[in-house]
Structures are given as C-alpha cells and as structure tokens.
C-alpha cells in the first residue's frame, strides 16, 4: 500500500492548476459518464489498437471513485474502481504517458490487473484535456507483454486520436448546450407571449424590413379584426384615413434610420369609432448592431387626448394673446459685465434702444431709471434680495415711458448662482399688467361703492358661500339687527351660541334654520318678500320683510345665497295705528248713523203723521250704514262679516234682521258676483225697499211666506231675481209708487246702468234686476 501511496505522490512541478472538484464538475458537464457505446468513439479506439498493434484499447474518463470506459477493446468491462486505474496516474501527466513494463514500475507492480488477470504489462495513454485545461481521462492502448514504447508514428496517432475524442466531446457538449438554449428560448418566448397578451397595451413586432408578423391579444380585442389579418402592411388600414400618411411616413423614416418610432393617430376600434392612440416602436439590435426586430406598442390615449387638446388650445390661445397684446419682454442680466441684454419689446418698455439692448446690452442703471421713482427703491430691494439668495424674483411696479405715460408691469425672474456661490446670470420676463391693475382699481372702487351702498341703504344683507349656511357674512345693518358684531360669521345653523338670543317667527310659529330664507335660497328657492318676526329674549319683536336668492356661478351651479331684510317694524306700527284709526272711524260712523236714527225717531215723537216717515228714514239709514260697513276698506286684520265683497254677502247682511224671524224665510241661491262700494249702496237701498215692502204687504207679511233670491251671470250681465212665494195673493201693481220704489228704480238706472222690473204675478211679486257686471264691481 505504501508503494502505491508514494507512487501517487506527484512532484510539485507536475501538479495541475485545476483542483479535483473543478475537474469533476467539468467532466459532468460533458454528460459522457454512463452513456452507451457510440460508433464515433469505437472507431477511434479501433484505429488506436490497429496503429499501436495493441490487443487492448480504451477511451476512459476518470470519475471520483471509478473510471468509465466510453469505448474499449480487449477488456470486456465498462468501468473499474479507481484504485486499480493506471489512467488515474496518466491524467496527472502531460500528454503521452508510457509504462514499458508495469512489473518494473513501482507504481503498478502491485496492481492486481498487473499481477493477475488480465496481466497488463504495457501501457501508453494520451491525455483527454478539455479546452479549459481539465484532464478528463485518457485514450490508451495496453498489451499483455512488455514493449519498449511507441513508435513516433504510433505516439503521434494516439495523441491525435486523443484530440479527436475531445472534438467529439466538445461537439456533443455544444449540441447539448444548443438544445438547452433552444428550450430556454422556447420557454421565454412562451412567457413573453403570455406577458404581451396580458398587457393592457397593444403590442406588435416586425421583421427588420418592417413586415408586421406579430400582434398581441389586446390588438385583436381592440380592433376586432381576425388573427393574422393585419400582418404585413395591413395595419395602416386600421388608422383613420387622415392619419395614415403621417403614420406611414414616420414608420418608413424609422425603418430607414433605425430611430425610435413615435406617432399619434386615430385607430379604429371594433365598435367602428376611432380612438386616439399613441404608437411607439424601438428596434432590437443584435451584437453587431444590426436591427433584428422592431417591437412596438399602441396605447389608447383617447381620454387623455381630450384633456391634452384642451390644454394645447389654451396654451396656443395664451401665446396668441401674449403675442398679440405685445405685453411680454424678456431680459438676461449678465452679472459679470453688469449689463442687461433684452429683447426689443423689453427694451421698448424701458425706453432703451432696442438694437443696443439686443446686441451689446445696456448697464443695469439704464433700465432702473425707467422705474417710477416711488417704486424704484422697492424694486431695487427686491432685486437685491434675489441676487443675494439666488432665488426667485417677482415684483410689480410702474414704468414711466418716454412719453410720460405710466404702465404697470409684473417682472419675474431668477438669479442663478455659479458653483462658487456668486451670482452669474439673472434672466426674467416682464409683463404689462396695466389693464389688470386698472381692473383691480376699478374692482376695488366698485367694491367700496357696494360697501358704502350696503351700509347706507337701510337694508340688512346676509350672504353665504357655505352650502350648510353655517358661515354667514352680514352687513352692518344685518349685524345691528341681529345684535351681533359684524365680524361674526355665525348663523342660526351654526353650532355656536352666538345667535341664541334671537329666534325667527313666521305666521306665529318659530322657524327652524332649514326653513329660513338664506337656507331655502341655498337650495335653489327664491324667497319673495315674506314677513318674519325676529323675537329676542328680552321680548323685543322686530318685523322683517325678507327676500332671498341663490347665487350661481357662470355654469349655473349654486355657490351661495344672499338674503336681504327690511326692518318694517316702524312701518308695521304705523299700519296698525292706521287700522285702529279706521276701525275707530267706522265705529264712530256707525254710532253717528245710530244717533241720527235716534234723533229722527225722537223728532217724530208726538207727531203721529211723522212717525212712519221717521221709521222708514231710519231703516233706509240702517241699510246704507250696513252697505257702508260692508264695503269699507278693510285691512287683513279687521275681519269682515263675510268673506269677500259679493252680492250674496251683502244680501245676507241686509236681510239678516229679517232672518231673525225664521231662517227658512229667505233663500239666496245661484251665481254670486263681486261688488264695489258704489253699487253696494244702490243694491242696499233696493233690497231694503223690497224687504220692507214684503214685510208690509208681500210674502213676509204672513208667517208661511218666503222669498227666494237667485243670481245668474250671463253674457257679462248679472241678473238678480227676487221671487216672493206663499204670500197673500197679489191683485196687481200698487196704485201709487212709494218713494222707496222710485228711489230704487232711479238708482238702478242712474248708478248701476241696469234695469229693474216688477212682475206683480198673482202667486207673488217677482222683481228682476239686471246689471252689467263691470258696473257691479264699481
């Protein structure tokens, strides 16, 4: 054993550069171990055995514990353990390893293959070395008898065959690598397709000549065209006709130059609608820089496009507006030379020669001079601050033009500092804001006017921009009215207790905040002159006439509300006093009527002949008094005897005294009609005479008799029929017309412009009164 060990001890100079683990890994990589015999390797050892005239030839690979024979002649085994291997020694040598007689070599004289069957006495092996320098095994020939060595021809052949074995191995290894690579490519292609198909964008690819050969699923979903139908150049037909030329042109340009392709076009959706789409493509180049494929995407940007379009138009308009109004000038202040270079417009603004400003620049002072004296100090301070800090600069100031006119400008710039922290450049632009300043001034003045107006007019004004109406602004009158400081924005709807000392009442009931005018207006209602009472804890009650309206923006959306209130407490008091006076007057008049009536009766006292006169007089007086009361101007507070001023209403009032004698004796039926003060007195007199006569001579003179009054409106006329029934038989018209009857007839003709006729029918008197309706309401 010791001999073998010493035999394995290799002199340091021969030690290989690889270690055993690397060598074994390299061997495994070739995938040759345990593979079946192959013709290529068999042929090689046939040649080796033939050329070397040896009975045994082997291609073997030295693994970790064994050697594997890929091909063998004369051995009859595919592998042997490593401890009997001669090749294990051979791989530690360079190139060719020859042992002329194993029994005379201490490394092998104990080897069982030498001492016993198959009695190996001669060995010659050429190393199988990978391109990386790993010794993998040998190709060797062996003999049962000792030999002096190999001839030169034989040695050459064996080493050449060793290279041939390695070529075969390399070839196999390459093939294997290629197969794996192909598998990987196929797998990654499958993954790519899966990824492309799940992408929200449309993806396509083309050959280097631009021939489209692939579209992802999304493309087909979007366009709805059959698979493969847009291969080649069919894609261009999917674009809006107006966009096709541009897309073609860009695509051809990219194909020709290899520059990235990017274009926006309208792509036909499967619904038939065209949607704005961003198309982009990049070339994929191989190692030599040649384009192998183009990969492209289409992104639906139709939604963004709308916004972009709007932005672009706004931008254009802005540019146009700025250019047209000539309000922008720009400057560049070179700090080193302390000169300002400016465009013509800027120079013109500052009264500096345009050519000078554009070419050689002008000293800063030249420009500063143009600034209004009152503003100059402020501007200089602002500039100094920007220069100091290297920050943004913005300043509004006045320029005095050469002609003496004053313009307001807004200047904006930025002082740029160098690496050393010193100011280098100071560029900026200046805008003419004179118009805006004028507008501002006008607005301020108008606001002031409104404020004056609001505080001068005795109108309380509330305003809110809060949909919940928790924040309310009020003018001084409103604040005074509510007894709150003007600066408070509390409202009835807000949670604090600022307004707890007051409540709002409408029609006798307290109003919840959501029903208050301002809140109703915020919800879109217009409140018109409603009368509210503002009730304070101390008992004060103010009467307010309030209106409110929603405030809308240009789009018509409600953005707030305004309410105004007039304090009509004083007016209300006057109205009440007037009403009281009217009532008192009415009371007095009635009393006077009563007194006159009483006087008449008293005057006739003792004079029997005068008594009927006095009686009739005071009854007519009474009828007139009632008519007067009925139609006198009433306020809503002084309730009338019956609702509205109508014929029926007056009739009921006049006949009321007679109704006391039995309700069923009078019936008032048919159409009603409104009456005015003048016709009321006439009607009162007529009806009074009718009733009096009916009491004396007609239907009402007997208990069962009754009267039916019927109104009819017809063709602009009002007809009132008085029909007596169940009274004494009527013998005919009375011989003499009484004063009352004559009075009635004249009053109908004169005052009412109507007609009155009596029909003395035997069953009862029928009186027909016909008056134009328009006269009735006078």
């Amino acid at each position: 054993m010791s001999g073998r060990n010493s035999a394995l001890a290799v002199p340091p100079a021969a030690r290989p550069r690889w270690n055993e683990a690397e060598r074994l890994a390299a061997l495994r990589e070739y995938g040759i171990l345990d593979t079946p015999p192959e013709r290529e390797f068999n042929d090689i050892i046939e040649i080796a055995a033939l050329v070397c005239e040896a009975p045994i030839a082997v291609v073997n690979f030295v693994a970790d514990t064994r050697q594997f024979f890929k091909a063998e002649i004369g051995l009859g085994v595919r592998e042997t353990p490593l401890d009997v291997s001669i090749c294990a020694h051979a791989i530690l040598q360079d190139d060719l390893f020859v042992v002329p007689d194993t029994t005379r070599d201490p490394r092998f004289d104990c080897n069982p293959l030498v001492t016993g069957e198959p009695h190996l006495r001669f060995y010659a092996g050429a190393l199988l070395k990978s391109p990386e320098g790993h010794a993998l095994g040998t190709i060797c020939v062996l003999d049962h008898k000792p030999r002096p060595g190999l001839t030169e021809k034989q040695a050459y052949t064996l080493t050449a065959l060793a290279r041939q074995v390695m070529t075969q191995l390399e070839y196999k290894r390459m093939n294997e690598r290629l197969r794996q690579r192909e598998e990987e490519v196929a797998a990654s292609e499958r993954q790519l397709r899966a990824i492309l198909d799940t992408m929200p964008q449309m993806v396509w690819s083309t050959r280097p000549d631009g021939h489209h050969d692939y579209y992802n699923k999304r493309w087909y979903e979007f366009t709805g065209v059959p698979d493969g139908s847009t291969d080649g150049e069919g894609w261009n037909g999917m674009f809006h006709p107006d966009d096709q030329p541009l897309a073609w042109e860009r695509w051809r340009h990219s194909l020709a130059t290899g520059e990235p392709y990017e274009v926006e076009y309208r792509l036909r959706h499967h619904t038939g609608a065209y949607r704005w789409t961003l198309g982009r493509a990049l070339p994929i180049r191989n190692g030599e820089g040649r384009i192998e494929r183009w990969f492209g995407t289409c992104t639906d940007i139709d939604d963004q496009k709308g916004v972009q379009e709007a932005l672009r138009r706004t931008d254009e308009r802005l540019h146009l507006a700025l250019n047209a109004s000539g309000t922008v000038g720009s400057w560049l202040w070179d700090m080193a030379s302390n000169r300002i270079y400016a465009d013509a417009r800027f120079a013109e603004f500052f009264g500096v020669d345009a050519r000078t400003a554009q070419t050689v620049g002008a000293p800063v002072g030249t420009f500063i001079r143009a600034i209004h004296p009152e503003d100059r100090e402020r501007v200089e301070a602002s500039i100094a601050a920007a220069v100091e800090t290297g920050g943004d600069y913005e300043c509004e100031y006045r320029l005095v033009r050469p002609d003496g006119s004053v313009r307001w400008v807004n200047a904006r710039g930025r002082c740029e500092h160098g690496l050393d922290g010193k100011p280098v450049r100071f560029p900026g632009v200046v805008v003419d804001i004179t118009d805006r300043k004028c507008t501002e001034a006008e607005l301020a003045s108008r606001t002031a006017q409104i404020e004056v107006l609001l505080s001068t007019a005795p109108v309380a004004v509330w305003f809110t921009d809060d949909p919940q109406v928790r924040r309310v602004m009020r003018n001084s009158h409103a604040a005074a009215l509510m007894r709150v400081p003007q600066e408070t924005t509390a409202s009835f709807a807000s949670t604090d207790k600022t307004l707890n000392h007051a409540r709002l009442r409408y029609d006798g009931a307290f109003v919840t905040p959501d029903r208050m005018p301002l809140q109703r207006a915020v919800r879109g209602e217009n409140v018109r002159e409603e009368e509210y009472e503002l009730v304070f804890d101390d008992g004060t009650v103010l009467t307010l006439l309030s209106s409110s309206s929603p405030l809308r923006d240009a789009a018509g959306e409600i953005v707030g509300a305004v309410a105004i209130s007039l304090d009509i407490t004083a007016r209300k008091r006057i109205e009440e006093a007037r009403e009281l006076l009217a009532r008192e007057l009415s009371h007095r008049i009635k009393n006077i009527f009563a007194v006159v009536g009483g006087l008449a009766a008293l005057s006739a006292r003792g004079n029997e002949a005068a008594k009927p006169f006095a009686e009739a007089f005071r009854q007519r007086l009474s009828a007139l008094a009632q008519a007067h009361e009925y139609v006198r101007p009433h306020s809503p507070d002084s309730a009338r005897e019956s609702a509205g001023e109508t014929v029926h209403g007056l009739m009921r009032l006049l006949l009321e005294p007679y109704l006391h004698e039995g309700a069923e004796r009078f019936a008032i039926e048919g159409d009603d009609a409104p009456i005015g003060p003048k016709s009321a007195t006439s009607l009162a007199l007529i009806m009074h005479e009718q009733a009096t006569n009916a009491m004396k001579y007609g239907a009402l003179s007997v208990p069962r008799g009754r009267v039916v009054l019927t109104g009819e409106r017809e063709g602009g006329a009002y007809r009132l029929t008085w029909r007596e029934m169940d009274g004494p038989r009527v013998e005919g018209p009375p011989e003499r017309k009484g004063f009352g009857t004559a009075l009635a007839a004249r009053s109908v003709a004169g005052q009412l412009g109507g007609s009155l006729d009596h029909d003395w029918a035997p069953g009862g008197l029928v009186m027909r009164l016909c008056v134009p309706e328009e006269n009735l309401s006078r």
Partner: protein, 128 residues
C-alpha cells in the same frame, strides 16, 4: 221696584241713542223700569241690582262692558249687545250673547225687548 223681569239696564254713552232705546223699551213695555248708564263705572254699580234685560253698548267712555256683561249673564240677566264694534272682537265667553249692530233697526230692538220681557229667550241669531 218693578219685578226683575221688567227691569231693563241700558249702557250707552251716546245720549240720543240711549234715549231712543229707552223709548223703544217703553213702547213695548210701558211699565218697565229702565236704568240708563253712560259709563262703565256707573254700569258696574248698577249691575249689582237684578235686571231682566240689559242692552249694552260695548265701547263706552271709560272702557268696555264685557266684564259687566259676564257678571249680568251669570246672574241670569238676558244680555244683548247693541254696538258699532266689530262682532268678532267679542270675547269667546260672550259669543252666545245676541249682537245687534249699530245702526240698528228699531223693530229688531223691539222684538228683542218683547222676547226678553216676556221671559222667553230672544230670537237666536240665525246667520247663514
């Protein structure tokens, strides 16, 4: 003192009206004893006595006669308002008291007097 049924109280601050009413009472009931008051103070004092009928103006010189009317009504006097005031101003408790508006028609007063002094209730208002 005449029997209560023939005792009539008139409260009226207008002399001629009071006189007219008094005559109307006597026309119907010559034996009636009429007490005329022209102020609330007088009326309060007079109302302590029993009356069969009271014709009361509402507004008199020193106030309104509602309280007197309540008082009289409670003690069984037939009360009638003869007034130029608005009928609707009469307090709820006195709404059942007959109301003859001024200027009045004498027959109505007479009918009321007759009914009251005969011990019958006056013709009830039969307003439509």
């Amino acid at each position: 003192m005449a029997p209560v049924s023939r005792r009539v109280l008139i409260v009226e601050d207008e002399f001629f009206v009071a006189l007219d009413l008094e005559l109307l009472v006597h026309k119907r009931s010559p034996a009636a004893e009429v007490v005329v008051c022209s102020s609330l103070t007088e009326a309060r004092a007079a109302a302590k006595e029993p009356f069969g009928l009271a014709l009361l103006d509402i507004d008199v010189l020193d106030g309104r006669t509602y309280e007197v009317a309540q008082d009289l009504k409670r003690r069984g006097t037939q009360v009638v308002f003869v007034s130029g005031s608005n009928r609707h101003e009469v307090p709820e408790a006195l709404r059942d008291v007959p109301f003859i508006p001024k200027p009045y028609a004498p027959p109505l007063i007479e009918a009321t007097i007759s009914a009251a002094l005969a011990g019958a209730p006056p013709a009830q208002e039969a307003r439509p």
